[in-house]
């Protein structure tokens, strides 16, 4: 089972890492936007006004029911067709993953706030804390404890799902791998195994520490309940 040297011929390995950086870049930017917008959406989902809540709910469901791939096509091809605006693949990817991440983060934030028992707030108010203080010292820290592991898990899902962006022409790690395999099909018939194995370990190196941290934090927050 020879052929491992395919990974190190020329600048193949550097190219894979470059592809990985594209994957990470799209993920990081999308996650950053999602956190900010998702927190706002989550807050909006807990307001008393029914109309506001309904609009948020509709947004959440629309984003959720469609596969991310369909959204990528809609944004990448659809927007160009409709507006004549030429969005690059990476920009389109960030838009789609932000739309999706915002929806999911919003729902997680809503859930985290609603999981803090009503009595916690009443206890805080009874002690003379203002509404603002009871949010800062009592509700927010408790909501955050349950929220962080979920957000990390969502991030790993987003990182893995970015593999789809190769289908709108973005050269991320998977696409680079495919190029290497295709270019060396005859000299290195086993290239696919080695290249995909390398990509497997790259995803693993990024996602495993995250999901490990998430489960550690989740266990810790369960323990102190």
């Amino acid at each position: 089972m020879g052929g491992a040297e395919i990974l190190f011929i020329g600048n193949n390995f550097a190219r894979l890492l470059e592809g990985l950086w594209v994957t990470v870049r799209i993920s990081l930017i999308s996650i950053a936007f999602s956190l900010v917008l998702g927190t706002a959406l989550g807050a909006a989902m807990t307001v008393k006004n029914r109309a506001v809540r309904a609009v948020c709910r509709v947004y959440l469901e629309i984003v959720r029911v469609m596969p991310q791939l369909v959204w990528l096509f809609i944004v990448f091809f659809g927007i160009t067709k409709l507006t004549g605006l030429n969005l690059g693949g990476e920009t389109s990817a960030v838009i789609v993953f932000t739309l999706w991440g915002t929806a999911e983060t919003g729902d997680l934030v809503r859930g985290a706030f609603q999981s803090v028992p009503k009595h916690q707030r009443e206890s805080a108010l009874s002690l003379g804390l203002t509404k603002f203080q009871s949010y800062v010292y009592i509700i927010f820290p408790q909501a955050l404890r349950g929220l962080i592991p979920n957000i990390i898990n969502l991030s790993t899902r987003m990182i893995k799902t970015t593999a789809l962006v190769s289908l709108i022409g973005v050269t991320e790690v998977l696409k680079v791998g495919k190029q290497i395999i295709d270019a060396n099909r005859f000299e290195y018939p086993n290239a696919a195994i080695w290249v995909y194995a390398a990509i497997f370990f790259m995803y693993f190196a990024i996602c495993f520490p995250l999901s490990w941290a998430a489960s550690r934090l989740a266990k810790k927050s369960r323990k102190s309940d």
Binding site: H119, Q120, E122, S123, G128, L129, T130, Y137, K223
Partner: protein, 249 residues
């Protein structure tokens, strides 16, 4: 200054939930140093009454005042009035992310802005008083129900409230823990803490109360001294209620 200084004055209080009056015109005053125990069947409005007194519920008619200052749900200075009213709930509601000591120190630090050292010393003294000195650095999840409730009492006491409202504080406890909590309350009663207590523990009510207020159907049915109430209740309803606590075959 009048001989009996009123801490709380309730006049013509009405509270409705979805059109049904849970409290249907209640007048009640609590004087300084007095321990008033509210008893009555479940759902008679006792707990709601306590919640109205510290503004957790909006009221439909009447007034609640603390030292003549009106307590109004959602009003701007409500948080200032609440500092003078300590409330302990059935479900303890300690803050799970903070240690016992921090649970107790939070409000005096953030609300009253007293010095940390002074508060810390006072918190430790309170914990000693309720027999929990060794739990200062524990988290609530490491405590039993009775211990949590004693911490919750300390958390309210450290604010030096003018009155303590205790809302069925032993109802969620295992029977063997009820005593350790009620002993703390009896100790407070002996030391002149003004309290308004809702409870189903009749023996405790008899021992702690200066005055028993029997509520049924959202109104005060009978009001008397504990000895009189438990031995010779004046009303039929009170007699019937007290019978539910005795067994015979």
């Amino acid at each position: 200054m009048p001989e009996t200084e009123h801490i709380i004055d309730i006049n013509g209080l009405v509270k409705r939930f979805n059109g049904t009056a849970v409290i249907d015109g209640i007048d009640l005053s609590v004087s300084k140093g007095e321990v008033v125990v509210l008893i009555g069947p479940s759902g008679c409005g006792k707990s709601t009454l306590l919640r109205c007194i510290n503004g957790l519920e909006p009221i439909d008619a009447g007034t609640v005042t603390l030292h003549g200052e009106p307590v109004v749900h959602n009003s701007r200075n409500l948080y200032k009035i609440r500092q003078k009213i300590g409330m302990v709930f059935q479900s303890y509601d300690l803050f799970p992310h903070l240690t016992v000591l921090k649970n107790i120190m939070l409000a005096p630090m953030k609300v009253q802005k007293r010095s940390k050292e002074e508060i810390r010393a006072e918190a430790l003294k309170l914990l000693e008083r309720v027999g929990l000195s060794d739990k200062a650095e524990s988290f609530p999840s490491e405590l039993s129900g009775g211990q949590k409730q004693r911490v919750a009492i300390c958390r309210s006491l450290i604010m030096n409230p003018e009155i303590m409202l205790l809302d069925e504080i032993t109802a969620a406890l295992d029977p063997e823990m009820v005593h350790e909590v009620l002993d703390v309350v009896l100790d407070l009663a002996k030391n002149g803490t003004t309290m308004l207590i809702v409870t189903h523990e009749m023996a405790f009510a008899k021992a702690a109360a200066d005055r028993i207020v029997f509520i049924d159907g959202g109104v005060i049915v009978e009001e008397s001294e504990p000895d009189e109430f438990f031995t010779a209740p004046k009303t039929e309803r009170a007699k019937k209620f007290l019978k539910t606590f005795t067994y015979s075959r």
